[in-house]
């Protein structure tokens, strides 16, 4: 199996789907000639031209509106919002139009729209450029929200997202673009709405998504050296949640830590905790532990920023408390 980066995996998914279906096209700021702020679209402008790889003005509401209006009449736009922080300028289009039009118009329109955007902190980009806001979208009926943690998942889920007739919010992570991983040979399509057990264990389940899965795996590796066997469940899709995979794991281990990079108040860990206690209450040997980012606007100084983002050490400490 070839080893590629998360960035290359996304690029392959885009290229393959554009080759497969002439209705698939890309729009976003600096995705064409400049090849993307994070180079995810490298080479695509040269290969497909400006009609299918469209550089837009800096106008997020318009960009998403263009996607919605073209999807309604049968095109399959894939939009790149440079970072999730800028999606706030397009929230009205995403929440009031993309998510609702099919329902409001009684199934009279399809919405085959993908909005890709990276989130997360860790590069000293500070308060306005380091947020993890996936949960804002996961709250909304009508949206699908996907947040892969590995190159293979990124490729397989992006291809499926492009083929889906629903609006998909596709959350990437800045710090994952250079992450390497094995890619299975052949056509790779992964279903939306399926979690994945990334590491099998017996003593505790660590539930997470996106970059925090890598953090959980690092923690699990160290815990193994200390005699604690941790299972790592990658949610992969945040809406709809694959409750079954999560609950089956917790029923086996009887302990759960839920880990997210974003602010935990009303967060993804809150939602997961709620359904786990509901569906596996009698199996739990300890309260569910939640770990999230510090509830502050992201600070600049490197040491303070690091302290604001959960690390493998944070996870290890929480697990040890839980299994003690």
């Amino acid at each position: 199996m070839p080893v590629i980066t998360y960035r290359e995996a996304l690029n392959q998914a885009l290229r393959e789907e554009m080759q497969r279906d002439s209705n698939v096209f890309l729009m976003g700021e600096d995705i064409g000639l400049f090849e993307g702020a994070y180079k995810v679209t490298a080479g695509l402008f040269a290969e497909f031209g400006e009609k299918r790889v469209r550089d837009t003005p800096i106008a997020e509401e318009e960009i998403v509106g263009l996607g919605i209006g073209s999807a309604m009449v049968g095109l399959r736009p894939v939009i790149e919002i440079m970072t999730i922080n800028f999606s706030l300028l397009a929230l009205d289009q995403i929440v009031n139009n993309a998510a609702k039009l099919r329902y409001m118009f009684a199934g009279g329109v399809q919405m085959p729209l993908v909005i890709r955007m990276p989130e997360g902190g860790g590069n000293q980009l500070t308060a306005q450029h380091s947020q993890s806001l996936a949960v804002w979208f996961a709250h909304v009926p009508g949206l699908l929200v996907v947040a892969p943690s590995s190159p293979a998942d990124a490729k397989g889920l992006l291809k499926t997202s492009i083929r889906d007739n629903n609006p998909v919010i596709f959350i990437e992570h800045f710090a994952l673009y250079n992450t390497r991983g094995e890619l299975p040979d052949g056509e790779l399509l992964l279903p939306i709405g399926k979690a994945d057990v990334k590491r099998v264990g017996e003593d505790v389940t660590i539930i997470s998504h996106s970059r925090m899965v890598q953090v959980a795996l690092a923690a699990a590796e160290q815990l193994a050296g200390q005699g604690i066997s941790a299972e790592v469940v990658d949610l992969r899709t945040l809406r709809p949640l694959d409750k079954e995979t999560v609950v089956n794991s917790v029923r086996k281990t009887s302990r759960a830590v839920v880990l997210e990079e974003g602010w935990p108040t009303y967060g993804i860990s809150a939602e997961v905790t709620a359904f786990v206690q509901d569906m596996a209450f009698d199996y739990l040997d300890a309260p569910i532990r939640r770990i999230g980012g510090a509830e502050v606007p992201m600070p600049y100084a490197r040491n303070v920023e690091r302290a604001a983002i959960p690390s493998d050490q944070t996870v290890i400490a929480a697990v040890k408390e839980l299994v003690a």
């Binding site: 509106g65 209006g69 409001m104 009684a106 199934g107 009279g108």
Partner: protein
């Protein structure tokens, strides 16, 4: 501000008045919309209709004139004041009234209500409830035509209040930058709810805003259905032949308040009277009578026929079933490949 003369299109008529058949069609449609809206207001007061209800009464010239410029293959988007546009575009008045009544037979199956009428069959791509937010969406539909190399035109209707928000400016910028086949029709009825245009917009002549994007623009008498039609025909032709956007401002007035909850105390009786004297139906009726194209007897027939259509729409809506509770979650998501 320097004004480029080329942004204002000469106002010569594309056509003469039109054929008698066309003119009578406009007249019938305007009367139908007027009586439909009056009936909708009445049904609202009788609690047959819930939520918000925004009526087109007074704006029929703009409604019928703009929609009449479109071909079947073209697309139409409107704001939430959408009943007249839906009817003019060919949505069955029964399906519109049933939607207002919240019935399963409504054009949005009781999911949209007054503000979200929709019918893909006649390329009526919906009424939208957030001011100006459908402008970017309409540019997307226009983009699809250029992407495919087809010649459908997209028309987008919004009020003057929509021109002070970012979505309007972002949409116009891209429409010109990418040469999109779209006709923006700003129905300037002078009030955004109760705030007059000169209290909300630094430039009260809305069509002048188009010069910032080098978009062709003109202002027309929105009470004159023919003036609106002709301006829109020029816009549609520019979109179809040259793939260029146009902004048309129609000066019009709603005789009622913003919604049924608004008694419109912010404007004078004299002002309302001034506009009523320019009533779009009366204007066309008088013109046609002067030309000997319609008699009072024919007008009476039109009224009688319209009354029947409106009554039938109410009866249909009244006896239609409410949506099934089993369908509460239907259409939140599409069933797609891969899931």
């Amino acid at each position: 501000m320097e004004r480029k003369s080329r942004t204002v299109v000469p106002k010569e008529r594309v056509d003469a008045l039109g054929t008698r058949e066309q003119l009578l069609r406009y007249l019938k449609l305007m009367v139908l919309i007027r009586r439909f809206e009056e009936k909708a207001g009445e049904m609202y007061l009788r609690a047959k209709i819930g939520g918000y209800l925004h009526l087109n009464i007074g704006e029929e010239g703009t409604v019928v004139g703009s929609v009449s410029a479109l071909e079947e293959r073209d697309y139409l988007y409107t704001s939430y004041r959408d009943h007249g546009y839906a009817i003019a575009r060919g949505v069955n008045p029964k399906a519109v009234m049933a939607e207002l009544f919240g019935k399963a037979t409504g054009c949005s199956q009781g999911r949209g209500g007054s503000m979200h009428l929709f019918d893909a069959r006649v390329h009526f791509l919906g009424g939208y409830g957030i001011v100006a937010a459908h402008i970017p969406v309409a540019t997307g539909t226009a983009l699809a035509a250029t992407y495919r190399g087809t010649d459908e035109v997209t028309m987008c209707i919004f009020g003057e209040g929509a021109t002070n928000i970012g979505a309007f400016h972002e949409g116009l910028n891209v429409a010109k930058l990418w040469r999109l086949p779209v006709v923006f029709v700003c129905t300037n009825n002078i009030y955004g709810m109760g705030t007059a245009v000169n209290r909300a917009s630094a430039v009260s002549e809305i069509y002048r805003k188009a010069c910032a994007y080098d978009i062709a623009a003109e202002r027309v008498d929105g009470m004159d259905v023919l003036a609106v039609r002709d301006a829109c025909l020029r816009g549609v032709e520019r979109a179809r032949k040259e793939s260029e956007p146009t902004l048309i401002e129609t000066m019009t007035y709603r005789y009622r308040g913003h919604s049924m909850a608004d008694p419109a105390r912010y404007r004078s009786e004299a002002e309302v009277r001034w506009w009523r004297e320019r009533d779009p139906i009366l204007t066309l009726e008088t013109k046609l009578k002067e030309q000997g194209m319609v008699t009072q007897e024919e007008m009476d027939d039109i009224e009688a026929n319209v009354e029947r259509v409106v009554e039938e729409s109410v009866e249909f809506a009244d006896r239609s079933p409410a949506p099934s509770l089993d369908d509460l979650y239907k259409n939140v998501y599409a069933e797609s490949e891969g899931r």
